[in-house]
Amino acid sequence: MRFNVILRYVGVVMLYVAAFMLVSAVISLLDGMDSSFYPLILSSLLTALLGIFPMLFVPKTEQINNKEGFCIVVGAWVLACFVGTFPYMMWGGEFSMLNAWFESVSGFTTTGATILNDVEALPKGLMFWRSATAWMGGIGVVMFALAILPSLGKTKMTLSNVELSSLAKDNYRYRTQQVVQILLVVYVGLTAITTLLLKLAGMGWFDSVNHAMSACATCGFGTKNASIAYYDNPMIELVLIFAMAFSGVHFGLIYSTVVGKSKNIFRSEVTRFYFATLIVGSILVAASLFVTGVYPDLWSSLRHGTFQFVSLITTTGLTTADCNVWPSFAVMLLIFASIVCACAGSTAGGIKIDRVLLFGKMFMARLRRQQHPNAVIRLKVDGVIQESEHLNAVAIFIVTYIALIFLGAIINALFGLDLVTSITAPIACIGNVGPGFGDVGTMDNYSALPAVVRLQSTVLMLLGRLEIFGFIQLFFMKWWR
């Protein structure tokens, strides 16, 4: 394994992170050089130095192996989160070292959980940087760099193969170069449209851009302490519901639909299942809210129920209401949404609805096999037969995911958290959702949690973002020959 090559490509990603810091510094400058200007400009300089240094020494390499590619991707994620803490720590305020790490990891992994009690106290430059971390993390920091980089030949293919999960690659019938470009085009397009629609719905430009970046990255960072509840505007909520819902769809399918290809979101079995889950879940939550009298009329129940269900299933975490006071049935549905989450190949985290669909089919196949032991049962998704190795991987992923939630819950309980917080905090972190229930509810934050729990939450966020095995692999490098 060539460590110098790894450093070079991680350095390239650092340069993109530095560029976003610089853009945030410009925002700060436009805001009358607010208190975040110096922290941002200095962080940008330091990050750029870190990134450019290996590039001066290490020559460009066309060929990198899978092991190196893996180290580049994981290294870039961890280092991006690390340098992402610089502006926060330099600015001060509520950001201690651990809090800055939490906020940075939460942004890059698009979790959207925060330790800030007063988001509105942040200067505009830092607020934009917070949203920018989420936006970069949305399609993946490495993928983001790859989409803009000129052709790197086999290097690009290796890196994109490591960054994109096997499920995410399913719907692409293009070359690597095109795949990363499609990702970027869809992502930028969605963000631009959402910004425009939010502005038309009544938000200011700055808030529109931030919320669009946050919603399309399915992150949930807002610019107001009360999140979307601050605006109390059904049009804004409607725009965000659509933005979040479409950000949870496979980007390749969105592209195919827009360019008129036959394989589109209407024909994909996974997308149909996803939209059906969205509709049924939203109606059930709304019905629960209406029947128990949380909201006086059906319209309010439907408005808040739909927004919250879509927000949690897409792992966004924006909020319009305090879900802690909602009835148990609605809360259980929202917890279910936080575990299942949206489609692979989108910006969402969690188990992914693709795996849930496959798991359901495996369950049915198991029942049929018990009735007909000699039957040859093939599982298909969108007409494609699924290999047994792939099915095993899905089952192992789901089991490991649930096991990690329980492990996180046990650690939380050890540090004195109540039952609901202990269980829902790991669900919200590993699924990159953000808000949970109890002390980490939609109107609360993670600042009151013990330091160990906050640190553990960041590990869960990274595990979730790198699809568990991507991160765990880092500790078993010696086995990789």
Binding site: N4, L50, F57, F86
Partner: protein
């Protein structure tokens, strides 16, 4: 400038830049902290002095009024002491307003001092022998003492209030001290990373090839083994390797 020289220069320039940045930030932040601390100390000292002046003026006023009202000693010394102490009180109040623009304690103190001035005017305007307006010891014990006690409490309140206001600022200062060293620490951390990278890159791109060339050349000279060295960069070491290869080939051709 190219090759090894360029890389080493850039490496050291980066370190120097970071050292410079760290130094500048330290100076800037420490300067900031020093100004903040100085301003807190100055404000604290000034407020204490103003409070002390006000209390001394009140004491002088009290002494003069007790002479006039209780003992009936009408003397120009006491009259002027009365007026002077009021003026000193008002001057201190104006100075206090300069330090803290809006302060409820100062506003009520100003009202009370105005009342005291009216009361003093009444006392001084009364005839020395009739004490119609100023009913002697009784007036002093009830009306005047109540007024002066009220003003004394207000001055004490003002002093406590300014002290309480300075305490959070001092606490903020300790937070700022932590924040002030953070950019320096981060710059140093990045500098350490760059030094480590520089060491690593110089080892693999300069030291290792030189050692390789040396070993290969020794092997060629001692055992006549072929001169083969692998270099990754196109720099002076690559040129050196190629020059040695040319030299060996020329030497071989000459021998032939």
């Amino acid at each position: 400038m190219k090759g090894i020289r360029k890389r080493v220069t850039i490496g050291f320039l980066s370190i120097v830049t970071l050292l410079f940045i760290s130094g500048m930030i330290s100076l800037f932040e420490l300067g900031h902290l020093s100004t903040d601390a100085e301003s807190i100390l100055n404000n604290s000292r000034r407020n204490m002095e103003l409070g002390k002046d006000m209390l001394l003026a009140l004491q002088d006023h009290d002494r003069a009024v007790s002479r006039i009202a209780v003992l009936g000693e009408r003397d120009s010394r006491y009259d002027s002491l009365c007026l002077n102490s009021i003026s000193r009180l008002e001057t201190s109040l104006l100075a206090a307003y300069d330090t803290s623009k809006s302060n409820a304690y100062l506003d009520s103190l100003t009202t009370s001092v105005s009342e005291l001035r009216v009361m003093t005017g009444g006392l001084l305007a009364s005839k020395p022998d009739s004490l119609n307006i100023v009913p002697g010891a009784v007036w002093y014990d009830t009306t005047y003492d109540a007024e002066i006690s009220k003003i004394r409490d207000q001055v004490n309140g003002y002093m406590t209030f300014t002290y309480n206001r300075l305490a959070p600022r001092a606490e903020q200062l300790s937070h700022n001290a932590y924040r002030a060293v953070t950019p320096v620490l981060i710059s140093l951390l990045v500098m350490i990373a760059i030094v480590l990278m520089l060491f690593y890159f110089i080892t693999i791109y300069c030291v290792n090839p030189i050692l390789g060339i040396n070993k290969s050349l020794s092997d060629y000279l001692t055992f006549k083994l072929p001169f083969t060295v692998k270099t990754e960069c196109r720099d002076e070491l690559q040129d050196l390797k190629e020059n040695i290869e040319t030299l060996i080939n020329t030497s071989k051709q000459n021998k032939a």
